[in-house]
């Protein structure tokens, strides 16, 4: 026990006094923040520029009904000839030219509308122009047939399915999205943790082996204490890193909302015109918050801790065993492969099956397999997974953890003193029998 805390402390201090640890801790969020700023900057530039579309309207009624918005402005060209209009449009450096020919039936007009632009126009602009024209021409059709548009509008039904879970809790579409995003976030978090700190453990084991200090150490310490101390020490360093990131996130979020909060709502105002729709946005935010509060948070909290712990320990002991078995980075790759595949399979299963059917058979099976259960189950739990299922899965996971640590320790014990041999899977299986 005394050794264990010595080893854990050394391992922890060794990691957090390392320059690259701090470099990574500080630079990664800065990098992400930089990207966020860059994106919001770029999109604000995009929004600022008003795109002028010149319109030649031979029908005489369409132009009047086109609604200019903050970023799309329609301007009428009186000259009806296409050639002349093109000339004027390109002189004005317009975004594009909408050429509408005159026919009796709106259907024929729709088929002949032409959009001319120098560069290929953005899909969203095209969509908006199209939907405006569709609306105007449809209304014209209604008018010709003799239907009252106001009546049609007032008799339209808008429907939003009222969702409820079996136990009577109200759910909405937003709920679904929040569950999905939250579940994915947990799964990915675990994925990153496994790989970043798992490989850190591997490197740390390899360092002791290649520097040949290992024999001195294990003449004082049981290899098992060394291995477990190392795993815990590195994980504590990892948790420290996550804690720092968490604090940085809240500080950043605070500054971002206080400095950019106003301009943000302005930008929102640009896209959504009416104040009614603006308040719809904030009500969506409220809905998201309530959706978040509707999640089985206590269950998620405990499940997250258990699966994080189990998944991490399972993989960490494999990483430690690999580090002990090999002499160099290149040899490590061949053993890393299967692990990478396992974790990626878990991610794919989670991403592909959970949104469609969180309690489907595939998602269920993979949330029992210990190598994939932490990630898949974490993605499923926000959707509600029966507790007994979680308990079975956790039991399998933790038995596998104990088994894997035992196997890992065996490989570790033999591997750390093996030099110069090209290690194969067969060789490792032999070690288990020593």
């Amino acid at each position: 026990m005394e050794h264990f805390s010595l080893i854990t402390t050394r391992e922890y201090l060794n990691k957090i006094t390392n320059k690259s640890f701090w470099l990574f801790t500080v630079l990664l969020p800065l990098f992400l923040i930089g990207i966020v700023f860059l994106l919001s900057f770029l999109s604000s530039i995009n929004n600022d520029s008003v795109k002028t579309i010149s319109v030649v309207d031979n029908t005489g009624y369409i132009y009047d009904k086109l609604d200019s918005s903050n970023d799309i402005k329609y301007s009428l060209i009186i000259d009806p000839s296409l050639e002349k209009a093109k000339e004027i449009s390109s002189q004005n450096e317009d975004y594009g030219l909408l050429y509408i020919s005159s026919f009796d039936s709106p259907g024929e007009i729709a088929e002949s509308v032409l959009f001319i632009s120098e560069n290929s126009p953005s899909l969203s602009i095209i969509n908006r122009v199209e939907s405006q024209l569709e609306r105007i021409l449809t209304n014209e059709n209604f008018r010709i047939i003799g239907l009252d548009i106001n009546e049609i509008n007032s008799s339209k039904i808008y429907l939003n399915l009222y969702q409820e879970s079996l136990d009577g809790k109200e759910t909405t579409k937003v709920d679904g999205i929040v569950k999905l995003v939250f579940g994915m976030a947990l799964g990915f978090l675990l994925y990153f943790f496994i790989f970043i700190y798992g490989s850190m453990i591997m490197m740390s084991v390899m360092e002791e082996k290649t520097s040949r200090i290992i024999e001195i150490i294990i003449s004082s310490v049981k290899p098992f204490s060394l291995m477990t101390g190392k795993i815990i020490g590195v994980s504590l360093a990892g948790l420290t890193q996550f804690l720092i990131w968490g604090v940085m996130f809240f500080v950043f979020a605070f500054f971002y909302s206080s400095f950019f909060g106003i301009s943000n709502s302005e930008a929102a105002g640009q896209v959504i015109l009416s104040s009614e729709e603006g308040s719809a946005i904030s009500s969506a935010a409220l809905e998201m918050i309530s959706a978040f509060m509707n999640l089985p948070l206590t269950n998620i909290f405990f499940a997250f801790i258990m699966y994080f712990l189990g998944g991490y320990l399972l993989y960490a002991s494999i990483f430690a065993a690999i580090g002990a078995a090999v002499d160099n980075q290149a040899d490590a790759q061949q053993f890393m492969m299967p692990i990478t595949i396992l974790v990626i399979v878990a991610l794919y299963v989670g991403v592909l099956t959970v949104p469609d059917d969180p309690n489907g058979i595939v998602a269920q099976i993979f949330s029992y397999i210990p190598f994939t259960s932490p990630i898949v189950m974490l993605m499923r739990i926000p959707n509600g997974v029966p507790i007994y299922e979680q308990l079975i899965s956790l039991t399998i996971l933790f038995s596998s953890v104990v088994f894997m640590i035992w196997i890992g320790a065996k490989i570790y014990r033999i591997g750390i003193l093996m030099y110069g041999k090209k290690v194969t899977y067969g060789e490792i299986i032999k070690w288990l029998k020593y």
Binding site: H3, L6, I7, R10, N14, N18, E207, E208, S211, R212, I213, I214, E215, I216, I217, I218, S219, S220, V221, K222, L417, Y419, K430, K433, Y434
Partner: protein, 308 residues
């Protein structure tokens, strides 16, 4: 005399491979013990068993007459043949860490280390990293770490490799000093001259078996062949040579002398003694060189391994 370590019928297998086969030996408290054997004989396996890095399949090891257990780790200091230090950790810090692993508390470890660093005049190395030191310098640190916790039993596996002669001597003197203070020392080495110079008892392991052990002087007595190197300045060397040949087994010598006109290796037969030989030589000759051939550890080593 008390045995600090008794190894009793120890065997160790790795799969099909037998690393040690029924090996027994005793190491007297306060002695310097040479553990010899060719590469791959099983020395390192035996040392690892003593250090509880691996455990024997069968047989037992007694430390001070009690079965070896974890609490004995602090009584043993081990300098492995393959030794290293953490490349990115300050020298002083890792020495303290290694001492703590051996059971010293932090303060004692620091003060003991300071004493050694002062003794070796390397106080300014404390904050350096291993990458800034030469191999010999790193070896000094490893030596200090091995002996720092004042273990009762010291195990050195090829301690002098990597040292220049001056530092090798420094380390040798330190080892002798530690022995005077009561430590028992096990040497595992291929350098026979240091065995000759330092060891009182030896054991020879070959192909997983112990083939020889005991007091070095006794072993030498057992292995000597009653052969004498003689060199004389004789008035009639030819007839003396013939006379010697008729009485003893005579062979060509390999030693160096000056001022002689006859030199030979003379091997006594069972009922003969060296006094008669010397009397014979003393007639009409001047004896320049007369010495019994004592087998070197090197010879014993090579012969035993060859005959095994």
């Amino acid at each position: 005399m008390n045995n600090i370590l008794s190894i009793d019928s120890v065997s160790k297998h790795y799969g099909e491979f037998t690393a040690l086969n029924n090996v027994s030996m005793n190491i007297r408290e306060g002695s310097i013990f040479g553990l010899l054997g060719p590469n791959g004989a099983g020395k390192t396996t035996l040392i690892r068993i003593i250090n509880q890095i691996t455990s024997p399949d069968t047989g037992k090891v007694l430390f001070n007459n009690t079965p070896l257990e974890l609490k004995h780790i602090k009584d043993i200091g081990y300098l492995p043949e393959e030794r290293g230090l953490y490349p990115k950790m300050a020298i002083g810090d890792q020495a303290v860490y290694l001492a703590q692993l051996k059971g010293l508390d932090r303060a004692t470890a620091k003060s003991e280390l300071n004493k050694w660093f002062e003794k070796f005049e390397i106080k300014d190395w404390w904050d350096k990293k291993v990458t800034e030191l030469s191999k010999g310098m790193a070896q000094k640190i490893q030596f200090i770490v091995t002996v720092l916790h004042k273990p009762k039993l010291l195990i050195f596996d090829e301690p002098f490799s990597g040292f220049d002669p001056i530092n090798a001597n420094l380390i040798k003197d330190e080892i002798l000093l530690l022995r005077e203070e009561g430590a028992t020392v096990i040497f595992s080495t291929h350098r026979m001259e240091s065995v000759e110079e330092l060891c009182e008892d030896i054991a020879l392991i070959n192909k997983s078996n112990k083939i020889l052990d005991g007091n070095l002087d006794d072993i030498k007595k057992k292995y000597k062949s009653n052969t004498f190197e003689i060199a004389v300045d004789s008035k009639d060397p030819i007839s003396l040579s013939k006379k010697l040949e008729s009485i003893y087994d005579v062979s060509n010598p390999s030693f160096k002398t000056i001022g002689d006109n006859l030199k030979l290796n003379v091997k006594l037969k069972n009922n003969q003694n060296s006094e008669d030989l010397l009397k014979l030589l003393n007639q009409n000759t001047k004896v320049i060189h007369f010495k019994e051939v004592i087998p070197s550890v090197n010879d014993i080593f090579i012969n035993s391994v060859k005959n095994d």
